[in-house]
């Protein structure tokens, strides 16, 4: 059965790492829904968070093959309720639309934040799960969204051993 899985990959900071990680998915013809990367709590160790829909069997095999990549320190699979996750979305709209009171209401109701206001445009930020950021997009669309950008998922796990303890073990 296909489900949404989040894969966390901890790697050394070497050139081409993103490529080495994604190749493992490409080979199995798996489509990545989102991918984010940044330095983790351990200096020099990068954390990739990859979201995809597939079967447990496939994702377990992918993780096995990810761990074979020399510069990959460790990879984990998480199901949706093993993790706390978040995404951030930015919406650029015309400042003049604010004169329509409904937009203010939408922003308030969705607990979105105004990041900047320019005479021409303003940028609104909303963090949340993809359904939430998408809903806000749908609500703003009638007023005209000039640009919309959403990050990939970032996630931390509920039960996992801390990576630093793991690194000390090896």
């Amino acid at each position: 059965m296909e489900k949404t899985y989040t894969v966390s990959v901890f790697t050394e900071n070497s050139i081409g790492m993103m490529n080495r990680v994604t190749i493992v998915f490409t080979r199995r013809h798996l489509n990545i829904d989102s991918i984010t990367a940044s330095e983790s709590e351990v200096p020099g160790v990068f954390r990739y968070t990859i979201v995809l829909r597939t079967t447990r069997q496939q994702v377990d095999k992918v993780v096995g093959q990810l761990e074979k990549v020399i510069d990959v320190i460790k990879a984990f699979v998480h199901e949706e309720n093993d993790i706390v996750h978040q995404e951030v979305a930015l919406y650029k709209i015309r400042t003049e639309t604010l004169t329509n009171g409904d937009v203010e209401k939408v922003i308030r109701e969705h607990h979105a934040r105004v990041l900047t206001v320019d005479p021409q445009f303003m940028v609104i930020e909303k963090t949340g799960h993809v359904e939430e950021t998408q809903l806000l997009f749908e609500k703003l669309r009638p007023y005209g969204v000039l640009e919309f950008a959403r990050s990939g998922r970032v996630a931390v796990t509920k039960p996992m051993k801390e990576l630093s303890t793991y690194l000390e073990e090896i």
Binding site: T11, E12, S14, I15, G16, N19, R20, I23, R27, D60, K61, G64, Q65, E67, K68, I70, D71, V72, I73, L167, I170
Partner: protein
């Protein structure tokens, strides 16, 4: 530790010497000229074999690695030199062969500009190397090489590529070499979980029909003796994958045969009759399993592999042991009871009889005058007592050699298994000879595959490589023709093969050669070839439309192996 000022190119050579490299297969060009210049001063310490195509260098290095147990080393220039390595890298990757390939690259300031002979070889080779890297500074060279040798040879071996820019080769540095012994993100040697081995032993001790499948992992971990001890104590019949041939002496009473699509009848059928299946250092390739949904379903499966990602990848293991074969076998041998499975072994022998009789009958009927490939192989096997290093190409001759050559020595079977690379054998045989100079090396090649890399005859000439080449000429791309006959209504689409005069061709390279067309001439000419001092090419005209059986057709189960 003493340090001295050297160029990056000299550092490459010093690092290789520090890794005890004595043989390099390569081909020069613009971007690797500084390294070749440095190599010029190492003529005494390091043998460099000038191949005729960089693909040949990779296969030669593979042959060298597989007979010597050491890491094969390749030099190539940037651009076309580097891209010519791709087939060999992919082959070495899938067949777990340790290689260190060093490519020259354009000056680091030119990277990404489509400079002359620039190609992103690191990007191209990423999925077909165990690790690769680009070095742009002279001072980074020794550490990169140290890491490369460590990665290539440890754990499950594989090919590694280091791309060195020309400015890094020219740059100056203080040379200092430290072998790499650990990498934080890489754990090649798993810790054996003895509880799992105990579990495995319990299964084995309770088994009525235990069956052992071995792969190349046995040889890669130098566990041949441990395997023998285990098998002789437990009395379990052993079958081998294509790459595992030679790890267990084929003349042994407990040897049950060769597995897979064109493997032995009993070896395949019994997979679906055993009660405990033990797989060590093999990876359940689809050519071995046939239809996985009907593979060994009745058996409890014990799988031992050094590569954790192989466990449960194709076949779910009841006991999956992530371990080096040698370590696991040593402990397992202590824990298993001494047994003789006489009745079970007899079942293998009975099937063997059926196989021999059926095959004999059908081949006798269809090709009585023409020489059959297996006659040549059997005769070669007898004359060499199964002790030669046998290098095969890809196709019918390869499968028949695997079936009929009696491999009695370890590291004596060199073939392209996972990738099935035609053109592998000639260059691989050259490398195999450098890896085992004291052994007789015989390459067995089809008329098609020979023409894929025949330029390496030039390497044999120039480097005076004493190998024996047998071309089994059936005037067809035989293996593909067989499939056309069986599955495409005999529509022989582009599989007939017109060949040059191989004898004249060999002679053009000063290689003695002889063509055999009649059965009566076969033995004397095989003997003549083997006794000849220096390289020799023997072309044997064999039956045009012989088919390889047994065969497990695509989608069939191992128990449905066909004898005709």
């Amino acid at each position: 530790m003493t340090t001295t000022k050297t160029t990056g190119a000299q550092a490459v050579m010093k690092s290789l010497v520090a890794e005890q490299v004595d043989t390099i297969f390569g081909y020069p060009g613009g971007a690797i000229m500084p390294i070749y210049d440095a190599l010029y001063d190492y003529e005494d310490a390091v043998k460099h074999i000038l191949v005729r195509h960089e693909q040949g260098a990779t296969h030669a290095a593979q042959g060298y690695a597989r007979t010597s147990g050491k890491t094969g080393v390749v030099f190539a220039t940037s651009g076309p030199g580097a891209t010519n390595l791709i087939t060999g890298l992919a082959d070495a990757m899938i067949d777990s062969t340790p290689l260190v390939c060093i490519t020259g690259q354009v000056d680091s300031k030119l990277l990404g500009t489509d400079a002359f002979q620039e190609t992103d070889v690191v990007g191209i080779s990423m999925p077909i190397t165990k690790w690769n890297t680009q070095v742009t500074k002279a001072e980074d060279i020794p550490a990169a090489i140290a890491k490369a040798f460590y990665i290539a040879k440890s754990g499950r071996p594989g090919p590694v590529l280091i791309d060195i820019t020309k400015d890094a080769q020219f740059g100056e540095m203080e040379f200092q070499y430290e072998k790499c012994t650990t990498i934080r993100s890489y754990r090649p040697k798993p810790k054996l979980n003895s509880a799992l081995v105990e579990e495995a032993a319990t299964l084995i001790n309770g088994a009525k029909k235990p069956y052992l499948l071995i792969g190349q992992g046995i040889m890669l971990s130098n566990a041949e003796q441990e395997l023998l001890n285990f098998v002789e104590k437990s009395g379990i019949p052993v079958a081998s994958t294509l790459l595992g041939l030679g790890a267990f002496p084929n003349h042994h009473l407990l040897y049950a045969g060769y597995l897979g699509m064109h493997g032995d009848y009993a070896a395949n059928v019994k997979t679906n009759e055993c009660d405990v299946l033990i797989a060590i250092g093999m990876r359940f390739d689809d050519r071995v399993t046939g239809d996985v949904s009907r593979y060994a379903k009745q058996a409890k499966v014990i799988h031992v592999d050094i590569d954790a990602s192989e466990l449960n990848k194709i076949i779910n293991a009841d006991v999956g042991v992530h371990s080096d074969a040698k370590e696991a076998l040593t402990l397992l041998t202590e824990l298993v009871q001494e047994k003789k499975h006489t009745a079970w072994l007899q079942e293998f022998r009975d099937l063997k009889k059926v196989e021999v009789e059926t095959l004999q009958k059908s081949t006798d009927e269809s090709f009585s005058d023409e020489i059959k490939m297996e006659e040549v192989i059997k005769m070669l096997s007898e004359i060499t007592k199964g002790e030669a290093v046998v290098v095969t190409d890809v196709g019918q001759h390869q499968m028949l050699t695997a079936r009929y050559y009696e491999y009695n020595k370890t590291k004596s079977n060199i073939t392209s298994g996972g990738l099935g690379t035609m053109g592998f054998a000639l260059p691989a045989a050259i490398g195999a000879k450098f890896g085992a100079p004291e052994k007789t090396v015989v390459a067995i090649i089809g008329d098609g595959g020979f023409q894929m890399t025949l330029q390496e005859l030039g390497t044999i000439l120039q480097s005076e490589v004493d190998i024996k080449i047998i071309i089994l000429n059936n005037r067809f791309l035989g293996m593909v023709r067989q499939w056309q006959q069986m599955f495409f209504e005999k529509r022989y689409s582009f599989t007939n093969m017109v060949s040059p005069n191989f004898i004249a061709l060999a002679q053009a390279y000063s290689i003695s050669a002889k063509k055999v067309e009649a059965r009566e001439e076969l033995k004397e000419n095989l003997l003549k070839m083997l006794h000849h001092n220096g390289p020799y090419l023997l072309e044997v005209m064999v039956a045009k439309e012989e088919n390889v059986f047994p065969m497990i057709c695509t989608g069939a189960s191992v128990s449905e192996v066909r004898l005709n």
